[in-house]
């Protein structure tokens, strides 16, 4: 930063992406910086979405409106400049006429859609989340657009559509037509198994309520090498004096609810009513369905980076999967060499110190689950999840670092929040209902196992636990209201933890 009078200089922080991580970063930054500096949020949607509750939209138990709200009034209240637009590229060195870094954005707002604008920044936080890469599996969709053969719950609109399709199946079952349900992951390199897990059990619950459960065959398909991997290599929970693997609990729940499973599967093609897949042992199979929700693989949103000379430096700033490089060890190599310290803690880009990435947008150093591939060389293993709580904590941490650098000087120490030192609380719904709902309430500490610190399971089993019951459902329901309250910046929002 170069400026004559430090006192009067108004720094600008741009946050790309107004999802869980970006919204947390922007709102805290605006609070800490006050009106002397500017916070700009660039995000393509006019509404904020509490994504975890999309599961309930997807089974018709909540409306789209209940899980979303308009961002504009919230940002106005917070004094945040809001650009309804998507970022296209970053110019971290400026251009030939100016040294000032800037981002290129394209408006998505009705009336000005397609208008391209450059905005300069002093600090940039990339919290653009995932590109829902349906196009990676032929038949699952095109690019980031969902195809016609399966449904999705990744956005509120997708979930709304899924609920309608589910209702059609229920009507058919009521008329005596058996239906096959196939839920899981739509590619060998997916993450977010937890969302599919919630959806399959919510469907099972709703079919029971509708009195048609006996007319349904429900099957799980996923890229996990064992049930209960969840992209974190599974977890051990202390129960009855034993440290019990999540595999046992997951298999137990699937059995209890009459759900069969196919695991170690890379779905390689989807057709009308059919999912083709390859298994870890190299065999190929086809599964028929009447209703299918397959989570797409995630990729970075495709931002470009350009240097001062106008050359493309995307490969310097971003990993090949499109996520932004941060202070992680990307050269850890084979899984035997993985260490907890490979995981980033400040989320600062190594090339440009005023750029950070948080939430799903940062490039993880490697998976958490053991990497595997079929004899044909097809990689089939979950990629690491960056769930809500870690994404929120990272957003707040990065905002803290940026605010310190703006307020205290550009050498202020950065704050740290490594997923290898951080826990996560997760509540996975298994059916909605005030007195008959259930959810698996889990905590995992740390998210990334540290086998040096916690030999054996890699986690502290005093703080890693899980149980299923109505209490979990109540917590999930309360969290829905609490997080929407917090995101709307209503009274006491800063007291609600991420």
């Amino acid at each position: 930063m170069e400026f004559e009078n430090e006192e009067k200089y108004m720094a600008r922080l741009i946050v790309l992406g107004g999802g869980v991580s970006g919204h947390t970063a922007a709102t805290f930054a605006a609070k800490w910086l006050g009106s002397s500096h500017e916070v700009v949020v660039v995000t393509p949607n006019s509404k904020w979405n509490w994504i975890p509750s999309n599961i309930w939209v997807g089974v018709g138990q909540m409306t789209k409106e209940e899980v979303t709200f308009d961002l504009a009034p919230v940002y106005k209240k917070a004094g945040i400049t809001y650009k309804q637009a998507k970022a296209l590229g970053i110019h971290p060195e400026g251009n030939e006429s100016s040294d000032k870094p800037y981002v290129v954005i394209e408006s998505t707002e009705a009336g000005s859609a397609g208008k391209v604008e450059n905005i300069e920044y002093d600090y940039l936080i990339n919290a653009t989340g995932p590109k829902l890469n349906f196009g990676a599996t032929p038949g699952l969709g095109e690019g980031s657009n969902l195809g016609e053969y399966t449904v999705s719950v990744c956005t509120a609109d997708h979930a709304d559509h899924a609920a309608h399709e589910l209702q059609k199946c229920i009507e058919k079952m009521k008329k005596g037509e058996r239906q096959k349900f196939l839920i899981g992951t739509g590619h060998g390199m997916c993450t977010c198994q937890g969302a599919a897990f919630e959806y399959i059990f919510n469907i099972e619950h709703e079919l029971n309520k509708a009195g048609v459960r006996d007319m349904a065959d429900i099957k799980w398909i996923s890229n996990e090498s064992f049930l209960g991997d969840f992209g974190v290599g599974g977890l051990h929970m202390k129960t009855m004096g034993y440290a019990v693997s999540s595999k046992i609990f997951a298999e137990s729940l699937f059995t209890e609810r009459g759900v069969e499973w196919i695991i170690g599967a890379h779905v390689n093609k989807v057709e009308k009513g059919k999912a083709h897949y390859e298994l870890l042992d190299g065999t190929m199979g086809v599964e028929e369905f009447d209703f299918s929700m397959l989570i797409p693989p995630f990729a970075g949103v495709g931002l470009k980076a350009i240097n001062k000379a106008g050359e493309d430096i995307t490969a310097t700033v971003f990993a090949p999967n499109g996520f932004m490089k941060v202070d992680a060890n990307y050269a850890a190599g084979a899984y035997e060499n993985w260490k907890a310290s490979d995981w980033p803690s400040t989320y600062q880009n190594p090339t440009y110190g005023n750029m950070f990435a948080c939430g799903i947008a940062f490039a993880p150093p490697h998976p958490i689950s053991k990497p595997m591939s079929s004899p044909n060389g097809t990689p089939i293993n979950p990629t690491p999840p960056r769930t809500g709580m870690p994404s929120g904590i990272m957003g707040k941490t990065v905002a803290h670092s940026v605010c310190d650098r703006i307020l205290k000087g550009e050498n202020a120490p950065l704050h740290e929040a490594s997923m290898a030192n951080m826990g996560a609380a997760c509540v996975a719904s298994a059916g909605k209902g005030l007195f008959n709902g259930t959810a698996a309430a889990m905590t995992i500490y740390p998210v990334v196992p540290d086998f040096e610190k916690y030999p054996g399971t890699g986690r502290d089993t005093d703080y890693t636990f899980g149980e299923i019951g109505l209490a979990g459902h109540w917590i999930k329901h309360i969290l829905h209201h609490l997080f929407i309250w917090k995101a709307k910046l209503k009274a006491g929002w800063t007291l609600i933890p991420e």
Partner: protein, 53 residues
């Protein structure tokens, strides 16, 4: 035959898993017990949340 065990299929993929009995299942939706669990789980989660911030 115990009905709660009927979903386990001999020689199939789920034969090796554990399965809850009627008591364990009833406790999951027993309101009084779940109120206690609600408090316990919240406290446990708060500890993990505070260790993570």
């Amino acid at each position: 035959m115990k009905h709660e065990e009927k979903n386990i299929k001999a020689y199939s993929q789920n034969f090796t898993t554990m399965t809850p009995g009627p008591f364990a299942k009833r406790m999951r939706t027993c309101v009084l017990f779940q109120i206690i669990r609600f408090i316990v789980i919240n406290l446990k989660m708060l500890v993990v949340v505070s260790k993570s911030h």
